[in-house]
Amino acid sequence: MIPVLSRRLGSRRRYPVCALAVLLCCAAMPANAAQSPVVPATVQAPVRIAAMPGDRLLVSDNTLQAIIVIDRKTLSVERTIPVGGRPVAVVWAEGRIFVGNETLGQVQIYSPDGRLTGNFGAPGSIGLPNALAYDDQTYEVLVLDALEKVVKVFTIEGQFLRLLTQPGALANPTAMSFDRTARRVLVSDFGTLAGSIFSRPKPVVHQLDLAGTEVAKIDGTGTGTFVRPQGLALDAAGRLYVVDSYDSRIYVFDAAGAPLGNLGGFGGDPGQLSLPLDILDSPKDKTLYVTDHGNGRIAAFPEWVTP
């Protein structure tokens, strides 16, 4: 046992060293730290990430049970908003922060200064609020409930409007993103874990129109790509980035859905990831921000450049 434990602790000993190196690196070049992970000191277990006006990032942290507001330029933590439970989803909409609280089973609404101003439904009414998206043309908030395996549509004030997807349409959805240009909803889906490998639904990214009809999809396993897809992002060129929590990579597809390559890989060194869960494209600095959950940090990668 002692050798086993020693080996395990030995491998963990590398992490503080790596973290220190990364911190020093970030101090030297605080902005545009492309391909070097950034480590806001108070991030512990980041889950989802969203953009906030004023060049800020919103990060849900499962261990801190808080939403962390980060200044993207300086990578400093501007504010920590405790949410009274484990937050998963987070999105900014019309001057408010919407939070999917897994412990409470509901969506909470916070003001930018951290005051709770409302919530969606009774506690427990949204079993696993894994992802949120906002349609700024219809003022509707989309909520992905991974327990009921549906996408629900609410008004921005929290009134339930309809189901975007009917029960059974999605196998095991996990995360979601809204394509404002094409007005499509992108949903990552683990597929069906049980059943024959020859007939069960594969991991997939669904592209749905606003009626909930599937207009396109990208398959995972079987084409040598993702296995447990999580967060999704689109860049200005229409490239789709899919975070795979299983092998800690970011898979990149062109606008037609053809695979281009991947970024990351398992590990704790700069440029590596461990259990990444979400991704955000920042057009301003052409940088992808990734919640590197297992390493307890936010990682930054440059957008994909075709060789």
Binding site: R12, V47, N130, N172, T174, T221
Partner: protein, 201 residues
């Protein structure tokens, strides 16, 4: 190659293909975990360094399971020696094992450390120890006997509850003495949640 040695690899391949195509939950496996959940077709075993992440893809935040978990490690600011107990240090992903008292553990607690198949754990400071976890405790209407920390309720002189068996420094429910602190209760229900790495918030 003799006919027999030729047959063996063919039979193995046929068995694997049959299990993947027509999966059945073997009696030795947890019925909630079918082979294909973790063993991909062209990557039968996850790499060692991904095993924890593999569990957490479902049981971690953003995953599809409602049974959420975080690895057991120091709380920020903890004065305890550094430790990190990962999923498979406590759980056998394949089966609920028989314990040293002859009962069967629940929640996949206890691993086959020595090839005997009996549920045991490697501990940070006490070597290999027996672990007994047959009840989730009185807070959920289950017996206190053989729960998380029953303070040797069966008086066999062995503190083998799943919380007790490793602990030597925590002040309560260590593996060498009685403790009256919420004995027999469901430790993970309100205070020491698996989602917080068992640390009290």
């Amino acid at each position: 190659m003799t006919p027999v040695t030729r047959i063996i690899p063919v039979a193995l391949v046929a068995t694997v293909v049959a299990l993947l195509a027509w999966p059945v939950t073997a009696l030795a496996l947890n019925p909630n975990h079918q082979c294909i959940y973790c063993h991909q077709v062209h990557n039968l075993m996850p790499p060692e360094n991904l095993t924890e992440n593999l569990c957490l893809t479902c049981h971690g935040p953003g995953g599809i399971s409602t049974l959420k978990a975080t690895v057991h490690a120091n709380k920020v600011g903890s004065k305890m020696p550094p430790f990190r107990i990962s999923c498979m240090d406590c759980h056998d992903s394949h089966s609920n094992r028989v314990n040293h008292l002859g009962g069967t553990n629940i929640k996949l607690v206890g691993i086959n450390v020595d090839g005997t198949g009996v549920a045991r754990l490697y501990t940070p400071a006490s070597g290999t120890r027996e672990v007994v976890f047959e009840s989730r405790g009185t807070d959920v209407g289950a017996p206190s006997l053989h729960s998380f920390a029953d303070s040797d309720e069966d008086n066999d002189g062995y503190y083998d509850g799943v919380c007790e068996t490793c602990h030597t420094l925590v002040g309560r429910h260590n593996n060498y003495s009685d403790s009256a602190h919420n004995t027999g209760k469901t430790c993970t229900l309100q205070c020491h949640l698996h989602t917080t790495g068992f640390n009290r918030r």
